[in-house]
Symmetry: C2
Subunit: 347 residues, 2 copies
DNA sequence: ACACCGATTGTAAGCGCTTACAATCGAGGG
DNA sequence: CCCTCGATTGTAAGCGCTTACAATCGGTGT
């Protein structure tokens, strides 16, 4: 005999009583509860997860699905850790376990997710790296499981998401540059198919328009999260009849390559080319002159996501006001010396 | 009626047959199996995880416990994606799900782990960030659950671990420096209580001794994973009667601060101070002169850990040779220009 | 034609826990 | 002293799936 039955026999009570005592059911004599708790503690007993889930129809755990990139870099980790920390804290406070579910880039993320959902392995889900059109969202919506996405998509709107305020960032960046007299502003965007790339690019366009600046396809540079696009970007920006005088970077590491190329050409960041980075990234923190960038709390992003999820889970929903939440987390500008007034071109 | 019963009724067979068909039991008519598979596919059926686990006494999932640091300065955080990728690939190939279990630094990691173990939430565990004396290892050993640690500990020896070959790294580094004529070699070590710090320090001592070099406590600098210890290190090394001429870094980011301080003092990395980093970190890659460092595949580390775990799980053990595995993953030297022959001191 | 056998399927007993419902007990009311 | 009621505990029916064991069926050997 094992599990709860053993405990029950040991104490000379029924399994029902033990179960009640352990689960905080009020219909138990307080003295009995103490006995049970003590015995459980002493024997290191904890209810079997599977049995409990089966009986209750609830797992008390939520999944955070992430995708593993071959090129995984340290600051993906950095991003990840911060966000997870925020989520974990909130969820734990409500008695929920956070299970991070890593999906290999090589396997179909839809199928991956579907397995966890249809097997009822988690009570709720948080998705990262949302695609512009993301079948996973339809899957979750139709399955009825509570979920939240980190990042918007175009797949319908009846669901909660938390995203960075790309629009706000872009507005601030462009305005700052315009105020410095820049009229030709380049931008880098991610070359993958995640939705944030499209949003970033759109915000770029919108803000140029707002300031009456012309849009030039040639000033948009798709980049990956690595520093080695600097050459082509710098050359692409400057070696043209109407060179840009500023650039806004989606991936801040790109600044490294840009700095390097500028140096090779005898130019200086902040003077000959204004540069604004997106998110203060570790590997860029040490560049001189310091990169003007935006900053945010990863933990806050995580807690916001977790709260939005809790608001949808029957178990916890009553503690939260609104059902569906769609939030853009604002970033704050961290002024550096990588941008400044337009430098009059010589020649 | 739901779940397998519904499927069974739909097909006019018993639940037993459906179960068998779905689980690859050979005692099913192939035609029947196809029918079942087809129907399951069509109805999007997947066996309820909890029920299945309860019936089988097995979850088909393994946990990877990581710790979340407020300041994200642990080693796990720039390890994570790569290692998880390796693990996930191996585990998935054996039909196991990888659940990453994040434990807040603020909560007791022993209790955290215990819950998952005693609730039978996973069939196996991988631990990261092993302490020198780690109660978790005793817990896992006594609980009988298969497990592997990423990093050694002093807590007994009857278990599998995978670790970096700190000794090999240190031997190579010291030998390289000695060959360059260095006799006074400093080192940085992590300031936390993870076991790798002690190992690194010990290997340092051993290798000095091997080359007949004296050991000087003053040349050991505890550091965190951030760049700003450079000043105190550089000054501490040089402003003394018998300055060191080389330094080996545990956290490679320290190089950034060191480079900066050296520059301030009009000194040059590689000439005035030889620097060898431990693991090629992204944020250091762009330093000039390039930092001589060591490199490894995080994926390989992950696959090694996963394999070592599989070797202990009854389900998969037969596919693997040895039971207990204790491996040191070697790193390879990536020569840069941050180290070289001792530069004769002027004055 | 009959016992026997392998292939296939059905029956039903759990897996360990929760929980609706029944049972018990002592106290207070009439 | 009997009845009612609240507090507490026990009984037992599942939760959805697996699997030992029994049952069925067509084919074989003799």
């Amino acid at each position: 005999m094992r599990g709860i039955a053993r405990l029950a026999r040991e104490l000379g009570v029924s399994t029902a009583t033990v179960s009640r005592a352990l689960n905080g059911n009020p219909n138990v004599n307080e003295a009995t509860r103490q006995k049970v708790l003590e015995a459980a503690q002493r024997l290191g007993y904890a209810a079997n997860q599977a049995a409990r889930s089966l009986a209750q129809g609830v797992t008390r755990s939520v999944g955070f699905m992430i995708e593993l990139d071959q090129e995984s870099t340290t600051s993906t980790d950095y991003f990840f850790m911060g966000v997870v920390e925020g989520m974990q804290a909130v969820l734990a406070a409500h008695g929920l376990d956070l299970l991070v579910l890593p999906c290999a880039k090589s396997q179909d993320n839809f199928t991956f997710l579907q397995r966890f959902v249809s097997r009822g392995a988690v009570d709720g889900l948080i998705l990262a790296e949302t695609r512009r059109i993301d079948r996973r969202i339809d899957l979750l919506k139709s399955s009825g499981i509570p979920f939240v996405t980190l990042g918007r998509s175009d797949s319908g709107s009846g669901y909660s998401w938390i995203d960075l305020d790309f629009e706000g960032v872009m507005a601030t960046a462009v305005e700052r540059l315009v105020r410095h007299g820049h009229r030709r502003i380049a931008v880098t965007v991610p070359s993958n198919d995640a939705n944030y790339g499209a949003i970033f690019a759109q915000a770029y366009r919108d803000n140029l328009a707002r300031h009456g600046l012309g849009f030039d396809e040639a000033l948009i540079f798709p980049t990956r999260r690595r520093e080695d696009d600097g050459d082509s970007i710098v050359d692409g920006i400057l070696d043209r009849p109407d060179p840009a005088t500023a650039i806004i970077l989606f991936y801040e590491v790109t600044a490294i390559g840009i700095y390097r190329r500028l140096a090779e050409r005898g130019l200086e960041p902040g003077r000959d080319l204004s540069i604004i980075g997106f998110r203060g990234e570790e590997s860029v923190r040490f560049l001189m002159p310091q990169v003007t960038c935006f900053q945010m709390s990863l933990q806050d992003l995580g807690t916001a996501a977790a709260r939005a999820l809790l608001a949808q889970m029957p178990m916890t929903a009553r503690a939260f006001p609104s059902g569906i939440v769609q939030t853009r987390v604002p970033l704050s500008l961290v002024p550096g010396e990588s941008d400044g007034p337009v430098c009059p071109r010589e020649g």
